[in-house]
Symmetry: C2
Subunit: 358 residues, 2 copies
DNA sequence: TGCGTATATGACACCGATGTCATGACATCG
DNA sequence: CGATGTCATGACATCGGTGTCATATACGCA
């Protein structure tokens, strides 16, 4: 590879002048500049980031560690939202003229120390620590020596974190269902020990309360197990109990569960959305868009979380975070309405009457 | 950060001796070694990869460019198999003591030049160029100056490439179906201009021929459009035509299509697999495992492709590729059999008769 | 004309590793 | 006992940029 010395020689100037042309940090004569640029072009010159990093003591690298935390989830498909997170973060980081260094542990937690060591050697300026689902984590000690932002997870030390707004997402979904005329809203939930379960249940209850609907506990049933075991019987029973409470719509804890519920409802001869509406959570487009009918789902805003986390990290690195900036930031996503939810007649009437009123 | 000079001072030796302790390239007295190691530990020292790269002229970096090629697919969810590719490649690359530098264009082709420039500046030793689906690509000129392996794509210049064995995958699936007693096998295909379409059709036909079954063109219908437009009518019509040819099983071009076909078949009152069996392609576990019943699918072996491509690239870099190594390597995946395919009675009879025979 | 100032450029050192070569202390051998 | 070899270690240069400081020329103004 050509170096700055090669360029300098070709252009008949000193290396420092070439440097000035690249960085524009001091005036350079127009003719000199042209000669240097011609030399750079003809030699196909790229400056060495290693040399720059060494001199400037800034690597220009941001580390992201993914697939990292669980020791068990190599047995399960996490749904791969990480790629969206990566894209969101990458966009922001590229704007700051830095490069994202991604380390994916492939779900093997014992690889993490080696990955962190790599980060240290590359002198990453900050770290994005990504969990595969909303959870609490304990941070490795050797992550504490540089700026870090947790994504989709949090710890007990108020380390800066970016989290999905599960409460708000479920609220928006259920509130939207009510606005569309549903009043008996089934809810097949996540396992109770999951963080997201509690938050979403709160969102569900708040939406009912806001709209003056009484909570019926028979409508809310746990639909999944913490371990991806054979959950099918559980889901079948849970659905059975929910259906006995006569819902007009069933909210599922995630799109995968909704996909299963599609099958179960059809086995019972119920047509979606004619006989019953269904909603999911996550908005995995691979599922939600391709199910028939399209699945209404509250979006887990992974791309936005990635971008927000990168932004927060860059401010931490620059030391310019706002004084009022909270350690934990919630990111909300929209509800994507598709055909799996059918407005109930009473709404339509309601809306049309309204329209007359105004 | 502590440097090798800090460690040397703390241990009372020269920097070069510290270097020797780290690299073991020359004998070091046992006591000295211990002193140095203690100093390294107490200073929490990590060697600077920038300095090493500069001195050794080897960056230890491999670049991977993903989501790169299409200008349009930001509108569509590609199914995100890239993360598996990354994991497969990362595993192999980590073993060679290198680091994977990933650049994801987020589907915006105009970002690629900037990403490649970043790779050049970081002096990546080789590049993995990943396409989002099996296709032909034209390579940017500035990728030609270092080792490169194409993944999931190929060009006209015999650039080394790693590709999925679409023909073999479809063959194995259809052959397996026949072994399970199916003889009338519907096939809803990809758009005809896709590379995978032709290959899989060949695999389908070969499986029939191998088993002495005549090809019935009514059983093979295009089920998807090249652009993710409203494909629904197309799929409906295609399915309709296939069903009129009385298949006992329907092969879908991918798992997304299979997911839709589940819905369409059920609308027609057909139960899977009792009335008709269904198979997919890709084995997206997020879909295949969670559909009810579980979807039989031929696996697109992304993790294996990533590993194979990394391996090939490392050999290219080392200059040790085998002389007989073909430019294009096919990677086969298994067929994952799940409950969406029901063996036909005649097989069972057939098998049991056989068993008596032998 | 002489001096201050802005413009344009170069010499040199330095960032943190490591390859090369030199050196000193012992051990071994003829 | 001196020559030779091995072991252990250090001095110094180098990789490719850039910060600092010096220098040279041109220009404006008293």
């Amino acid at each position: 590879m050509a170096t700055i010395y090669d360029v300098a020689k070709a252009a008949g100037v000193s290396p420092k002048t070439v440097s000035r042309v690249m960085n524009g940090d001091a005036p350079v004569n127009e003719k000199t500049r042209e000669a240097v640029e011609a030399a750079m072009a003809s030699l196909n010159y790229s400056p060495s980031s290693a040399a720059r990093a060494m001199r400037s003591q800034r690597s220009g690298l941001i580390g992201m560690i993914t697939g990292a935390i669980s020791t068990t989830h190599q047995f399960e498909d996490t749904g791969l939202p990480e790629i969206y997170l990566v894209q969101g973060a990458q966009r922001v980081i590229a704007q700051s003229n830095r490069t994202l260094l991604i380390a994916d542990s492939g779900g093997q937690a014992d690889r993490i120390p080696a990955l962190l060591q790599t980060f240290r050697e590359h002198r990453v300026e900050g770290v994005l620590y990504v969990a595969e689902y909303h959870r609490e984590v304990g941070l490795p000690a050797n992550l504490r020596d540089r700026p870090i932002v947790l994504v989709n997870c949090f710890d007990t030390d108020d380390t800066p974190a970016v989290l999905p707004d599960d409460e708000g997402g479920q609220f928006a979904l259920v509130d939207g269902l009510i606005k569309r005329g549903h009043r008996r809203i089934g809810f097949l939930t996540l396992p109770e020990q999951q963080i997201a379960h509690g938050l979403r249940a709160e969102g569900y209850v708040r939406a009912l309360k806001t709209n003056g609907i009484e909570f019926d506990e028979r409508l809310m049933q746990v639909g999944a197990l913490p371990i991806p075991a054979n959950e099918f019987d559980l889901l079948w029973d849970a659905l059975d109990r929910v259906l006995r409470a006569e819902p007009t719509v069933i909210c599922c804890a995630n799109d995968k569960m909704a996909m299963r519920v599609y099958g179960l409802l059809r086995e019972r001869g119920l047509a979606i959305p004619r006989d019953i509406s269904v909603a999911g959570y996550d908005d995995y487009r691979m599922i939600a868009e391709h199910l028939h009918p399209g699945l209404t789902s509250a979006q887990l805003p992974y791309a936005a979380m990635g971008a927000r986390a990168a932004d927060k990290l860059l401010r931490l690195i620059a030391g310019t975070q706002r004084p009022d900036e909270p350690a934990h930031e919630l990111v909300s996503g929209p509800v994507v309405w598709r055909d799996s939810v059918q407005p109930r007649d009473n709404t339509i009437t309601h809306l049309s009457t309204r329209r007359k009123d105004t």
